[in-house]
Symmetry: C2
Subunit: 221 residues, 2 copies
DNA sequence: ATATAAATTTAGATATGGCTAAATAAATAT
DNA sequence: ATATTTATTTAGCCATATCTAAATTTATAT
């Protein structure tokens, strides 16, 4: 069992997330952008992660996460999302306030702590942003979901997650009344700029840009 | 508002605790023992804490915590003890399992987190080891308490805290059935070695060494 | 095919926090 | 009063994690 520092865990998580977005060889620059550090720092870290065999690294050609690496990444993600649930469900945090704190809490090293927290929360399956919580073995129950902007005219569905978890985006959703669980229907798609008119809960309509819609994930129904 | 690193917070807490034990000028070696680091590392850290004005430091003559330093130390202690309560009350940790995890959790930086945690726990006044939890202003409600070995023959009282919070000591107390809240009475004091015979909850008697008794704090009644 | 641009890595610096060994100051004993 | 012991500090080293600037490799355009 290798040990990872908090910084290593953060980088590994970034590599995992970027890998999930389809990319085969995750690039130094992509990681640098994700981590808000300089490419030079990334190169250094990749060497370390490679030595610990949680990533496959070929200089100049990007990295791929290993099976072993995935396990570690998924445990950190599990902790992150369980803590987010705790903050929202038990401490009445808003969903736009949890990310940064969870970013710290996810590094607390205590197997019993996370097991008990999971129990205490009633084994939640999704975090406040609709993202699935891996189980203790790293298994993830993925729901089929697609960006709202990819729905066709008159398609209906339910908001199940957000892609962007930034406070700015989440507060915007709060303001316009979009939330996880909301039933939606596409009333109009503007050809010119891809913006949409959406019916929410059969009650009110909502106009949103394509950019906003692309960050709202729906289960088509 | 200065910022302290986790390491600085740990050292400052150590200085605070040693100061509370009466000592005027806390020595480098005492801190070194408390922190389980080498005296050379302590000297280095004292310079840093002194620059941040949370301690008064005169080389070779030991340190004293400043008023400003006390405030910071008490906030870390507050967080430590609140997390301990959380672990025991909500996550069913045993009182001998919480210290190390709280040692990490106490460094999470989020004012709202600790305020909400306090609320969630119902504003507890004492931690699982009977130690008082400072309020948000750093005020501590101290209970009068003295080591059990200082009680006289036939004196009675109630266990209100433990001095040593090590797992070994706490598990020993569990084993013999001593706990916080227990009513006790001194049935015998052995002159030879200072060991005691104690009546617990008017039910069973208990023999303990002077060393053990010195780490049990009672409210005399 | 070569020149240029972009991406990436390396080199060298800084900051934190730890260590050992050597130097120095203070305390103690003769 | 001086020598010895103990406590403390300083110097120099290592590891982690970041940075900037320079070097190098790969990709792109002409
Ligand atoms: Mn993190
Ligand atoms: Mn989330
Ligand atoms: Mn700590
Ligand atoms: Mn405690």
């Amino acid at each position: 069992m290798i040990k990872l520092t908090s910084a290593e865990e953060n980088y590994l998580k970034a590599v995992y997330h970027l890998s999930e977005e389809g990319k085969k060889n995750v690039s130094t620059n992509d990681i640098s952008a994700e981590m808000k550090t300089k490419p030079a720092s990334v190169s250094d870290m990749l060497r370390k992660l490679s030595e610990k065999q949680v990533i496959d690294y070929r200089k100049y050609y990007g990295v791929n996460i290993t099976e072993e690496g995935k396990k570690y990444a998924l445990q950190v993600i599990r902790k992150h999302r369980l803590w987010e649930v705790f903050l929202v469900e038990k401490l009445r945090f808003a969903w736009d306030e949890v990310h940064e704190v969870a970013e710290e809490l996810e590094h607390i090293k205590s197997p019993i702590l996370i097991q008990r927290l999971d129990e205490f929360l009633g084994h939640p399956k999704f975090d406040p942003h609709g993202d699935p919580i891996p189980d203790e073995f790293g298994d993830v129950k993925a729901r089929p979901r697609l960006p709202l902007n990819e729905l066709e005219l008159n398609d209906g569905g339910q908001i199940v997650a957000v892609k962007d978890s930034s406070a700015a985006f989440l507060r915007y959703l709060d303001k316009v009344g979009a939330y996880i669980g909301a039933r939606i229907k596409v009333l109009d798609k503007v050809e010119f700029d891809g913006s949409l008119e959406i019916l929410v809960d059969n009650k009110k309509t909502l106009f949103m840009s394509k950019d906003v819609a692309a960050n709202i994930l729906v289960l088509q129904q």
